[in-house]
Symmetry: C2
Subunit: 278 residues, 2 copies
């Protein structure tokens, strides 16, 4: 069966979009469609231009026998700004304010379209880093970690507060929560992280950075390397920050419980030295 160019373009777009950061040999496509490699190359040129022009991402072609094509999700600066503004608007509604000045974000973390956007923004920021695995802590970091993982195509490991029989042997550490100064523990299944892995640490909210710092300590136990830190919201009013090199989408600048006002602004996303699609 022969495929027309239009069918190939549609199927290749879908195939690449489902498998970001994965090198697909051109022979795979030429066998899939019964087409000459030269036709596949022409298809990929059209896809590359459209992906870059429409803010979908970069299509890299790697020449040679071990070569192929790789889709790298990337955003353009305008889209990133829109998403961050959309997040701000969601977050600033006063009914999110919980007793103690906490913010209710569970609905946003459960919104698949919004999580796709967040995942793509953070995956875009870390696209050039070497990352073997994404680490987060249960429960609220998981949707963000999953969303980034879908765009970086790397596995997620989940650190827990307590150990479970279904995790097998675990490594446990104690750490000091940055803001409340309480001693807490976190646990990671021993087999979930290979020695020497490059790890992106992710969380939904960072105040002083105690939890993120705990994960950094945990990495040492596994002889793993920190590749980066990404958070959805950071709190501006942390007295003493335990973590400095991170990417945040939003910054919580003020919570006024009395007037029920929440103020957010852009995080440091645009200050991080990331490259955008033009």
């Amino acid at each position: 069966m022969k495929f027309k160019r239009s069918e190939r373009l549609i199927d290749m777009t879908h195939y690449l979009a489902e498998r970001p950061h994965q090198l697909v040999p051109l022979t795979f496509f030429s066998e899939r469609y019964g087409s000459a490699k030269s036709s596949i190359s022409e298809d990929l040129t059209i896809i590359k231009e459209t992906f870059e022009g429409r803010g979908i991402g970069i299509v890299q072609t790697v020449p040679g026998a071990a070569g192929g094509v790789k889709y790298i999700p990337k955003v353009n600066a305008g889209e990133a700004k829109e998403v961050i503004e959309e997040l701000c608007q969601h977050m600033e509604s006063s009914d999110r304010l919980l007793p103690g000045g906490y913010l209710y974000m569970t609905d946003l973390l459960g919104n698949p379209l919004l999580m796709k956007k967040v995942g793509k923004l953070l995956a875009s920021a870390f696209a050039e880093k070497e990352i073997d695995v994404i680490m987060t802590v249960a429960t609220k970091g998981i949707p963000i970690a999953n969303a980034i993982a879908a765009y970086l195509n790397v596995p997620v490991v989940i650190v827990r507060r307590d150990s479970r029989v279904t995790e097998g042997s675990t490594v446990s550490i104690n750490y000091v929560s940055g803001s409340s100064k309480r001693i807490q523990s976190m646990v990671l299944s021993k087999r979930s992280l290979k020695e020497g892995s490059n790890v992106l640490v992710v969380d939904d909210f960072m105040k002083a950075g105690g939890t993120v710092n705990g994960m950094k300590n945990l990495l040492e136990e596994f002889s793993a390397t920190l590749s980066g830190i990404g958070v959805l919201v950071e709190s501006e009013n942390a007295e003493e920050r335990l973590v400095d090199d991170y990417v945040s989408l939003l910054k919580l600048s003020d919570v006024n419980e009395k007037n029920k006002q929440i103020s957010l602004k852009q995080g440091n996303y645009f200050q991080s030295n990331l490259t955008f699609l033009s």
Copy 2:
């Protein structure tokens, strides 16, 4: 700026794939590309045929002023069989066996490509049901729920074992775990589920069904309706099943701790009355 057909096909494919089950008006595309509606209609015919032919899904066009186009992710039977076989192979490796006959599955739940496939299979099974929200229980159900949500485009709500300050007011119930007969509790944030919602309940593993049954009881507290139950693995050797109408991808038929053997077979996926792409 005018767009060529090839560029439109690529961008529309990507746009629809990111927004499944969402009605997109044709005017949206005709404005996006500066093209006549008739050209957009022709594009959609090509996309529709390719999506159906390549096992990507169904493209529904709804006529009229409030109409538009909707992408419904669907698998064909061959692809579903392949995914289930791949899962079986992953699961049957003897080093998954944990003390007490438990199975280590955390690595599979953290694998984004595998989770996309699982999510698409289960989203495909429930594509015709009315579903407003997907409910699961922390922690291991979350990646599956997120994966299905990405294909059904509905929010996820997460039931927890304990209540947290960041969840606001909660509703808590007690339930009897089916296999251990212990009394446990589960907690759901009050504002996370609207009254009258149609809910798909999802979990990674089901033995007697105590946890799933607990979630069913929780639905009653919210005057919500059960639309379906989906699990990754069910255990065949449950003496007394508390739940009957569910869809499972795999069935754990035997765990021999002495010989370190794990036997799995297909779940009831193909017996459920779901329609496949031909």
